[in-house]
């Protein structure tokens, strides 16, 4: 069993060496498509990270009824808000905090003095600032918090916020679809290249069958070759994308346009390398398998 496995692995490596030109062209096809996939994965991942950051900064303000501002009611309301599915944090802002915030948001000292005169008749309400875990739950959280007795109104930023959440969701979806479509394209391209490689060796397969090799025995070294081709094809994209990302991350000091934080290179690049190598191996394996099976099926 192990001797046979060792033989197949050795045959696979020998096959790559003896058909180096074809193996190189297959590996190049894998490298090109994996580079494309890798670049889009980096972009998509950072896009998702950015949209998540934007989304997590979306918050709701739940204003409290004037007649529920006592300690007992406030605790009850806070408890109820925390129970709502999708709420990630709840912070209490007293009406005095709100008043201070409003006064201080004006830079004109005269205007600040004018507002200060109304401190005793503070028109603001006690409020809870609520952050949510997922932007798509914004409407639902708003609806449920509004239904809590003692809550006067929930301010969620209105239609513009919903639109923003929608746009972010679409950006993520588009990125995901793009990566999946590229992966499918990669499989097709690599399958075609490996298919040509094996097509050139159909006589070899016929001879193997003729000396009494079972299908599995004929197939095994070709599968090993496919895996080697896929693995080698993934090394260049891993080095290029990894190196470039590391350089850009440091050059941009970890932020894009000075606002959006980029994913830290480690462990992100380790995961990316694992995904690219895994995709390369899988694509090489599938490409070889389909191609060899075609020739094993024809003849008895």
């Amino acid at each position: 069993m192990f001797r046979r496995l060792g033989r197949h692995i050795k045959e696979g490596f020998l096959g790559v060496g003896r058909h180096f030109g074809m193996a190189l062209s297959s590996s190049t096809a894998v490298a090109i498509t994996l580079t494309l996939i890798g670049v889009f994965m980096v972009l998509t991942y950072n896009l998702v990270l950015t949209t998540n950051t934007i989304e997590s900064s979306i918050s709701l303000s739940a204003l409290i009824d004037y007649d529920s501002e006592d300690q007992v009611n406030l605790q009850r309301i806070e408890g109820k808000i925390k129970e709502v599915n999708g709420v990630s944090s709840v912070t209490y802002h007293s009406k005095e905090d709100e008043f201070d915030f409003y006064v201080n948001s004006n830079t004109d000292p005269e205007l600040q003095e004018f507002y200060e005169a109304y401190r005793d008749e503070n028109p603001f309400r006690d409020a809870y600032i609520i952050t949510i875990s997922d932007g798509t739950m914004l409407q639902e959280v708003t609806r449920q918090v509004e239904a809590i007795p003692g809550v006067y109104q929930v301010y969620d930023g209105g239609a513009n916020t919903y639109k923003l959440v929608d746009v972010l969701e679409n950006i993520r979806l588009f990125g995901g679809i793009l990566v999946v479509a590229l992966a499918a394209l990669a499989i097709y391209l690599v399958y075609n290249t490996i298919h040509i490689t094996i097509d050139n060796r159909k006589d070899e397969i016929w001879i193997m069958r003729n000396v009494g090799a079972k299908n599995g025995y004929v197939r095994a070294p070709f599968l090993v070759e496919g895996i080697i081709i896929g693995l080698f094809g993934s090394i260049v994209p891993i080095l290029i994308i990894g190196g470039l990302y590391y350089y850009l991350y440091n050059a941009l000091q970890g932020t894009l346009f000075g606002t959006f934080a980029l994913a830290a290179p480690f462990p992100f690049l380790y995961y990316l390398a694992a995904v690219l190598a895994g995709t390369g191996i899988l694509v090489g394996f599938i490409g070889s398998y389909i191609s060899v099976c075609k020739y094993l099926r024809i003849r008895r």
Partner: protein, 226 residues
């Protein structure tokens, strides 16, 4: 022992390759099958090799009904039948040694046995000094010797040679037939040579079966009047 009974074969395109033929070849026999191109010789080999199945009749090889063999059993069956072709069909990217060894590797022969036997058959066919070269570096005669070595590596009971001298000059052809005679005697292998080269049959007379248009037209012991 090969026993063919009332076998007919018609291909999907309507070509009648064999029509109700019957013949028997005993263990250890040396037999020529002769006939013009398109007579049905190659079809006969394909039936014996398990590459084709008859439309009717039975092909029995060592008591195995080849036509009824399951697809998955064909490779194992072939290990007992050595086949040599006109165009040698060696694996171009393997050395002479590896080409012969491959036939033994597929049957999981132990490494020591494999090495010993490969050296033995390469010596038998007189190409032992070419072990590490690739087929393209050999002459046609030498390539055919390697193909024969590969075909007998697993000590098959039957060796089928399809036009083994088709690409060789008369001197080389003579050498190949002598080699097959030697294998027949030393390894006790049943030899079946398909050829249209009458000269070979004249110089090395053996039982000769003539096929034409899918019918057996003659079966002559010792070559007869050919």
């Amino acid at each position: 022992m090969i026993k063919i009974e009332n076998v007919s074969k018609t291909y999907k395109n309507g070509t009648h390759a064999l029509s109700n033929i019957s013949l028997e070849i005993k263990d250890g026999e040396f037999v020529y099958i002769i006939g013009p191109t398109g007579s049905g010789k190659s079809t006969l080999i394909k039936l014996l090799n398990g590459e084709e199945v008859p439309n009717s009749g039975t092909v029995l090889v060592n008591d195995i009904n080849v036509g009824k063999l399951r697809h998955s059993k064909v490779p194992v069956y072939r290990r007992n039948i050595g086949v040599v072709f006109q165009d040698y069909r060696l694996l171009p990217r393997k050395t002479v040694f590896e080409n012969v060894a491959y036939a033994m590797e597929v049957v999981d022969a132990p490494r020591d046995t494999l090495r010993k036997r490969v050296r033995e058959v390469l010596k038998l066919v007189d190409v032992a000094d070419k072990s590490n070269v690739f087929p393209a570096e050999l002459s046609g005669g030498q390539q055919q010797r390697v193909a024969i070595a590969r075909a007998i590596a697993n000590k098959p009971s039957i060796l089928i040679a399809d036009e083994p001298t088709g690409n060789l000059d008369p001197k080389k052809s003579d050498e190949i037939i002598r080699l097959l005679e030697k294998i027949n005697q030393e390894e006790k292998t049943t030899i079946l040579i398909v050829t249209h080269d009458i000269e070979i049959v004249r110089h090395h007379p053996k039982r000769t079966i003539a096929i034409d248009s899918g019918h057996i037209t003659a079966d002559l012991a010792g070559g007869g009047s050919i």
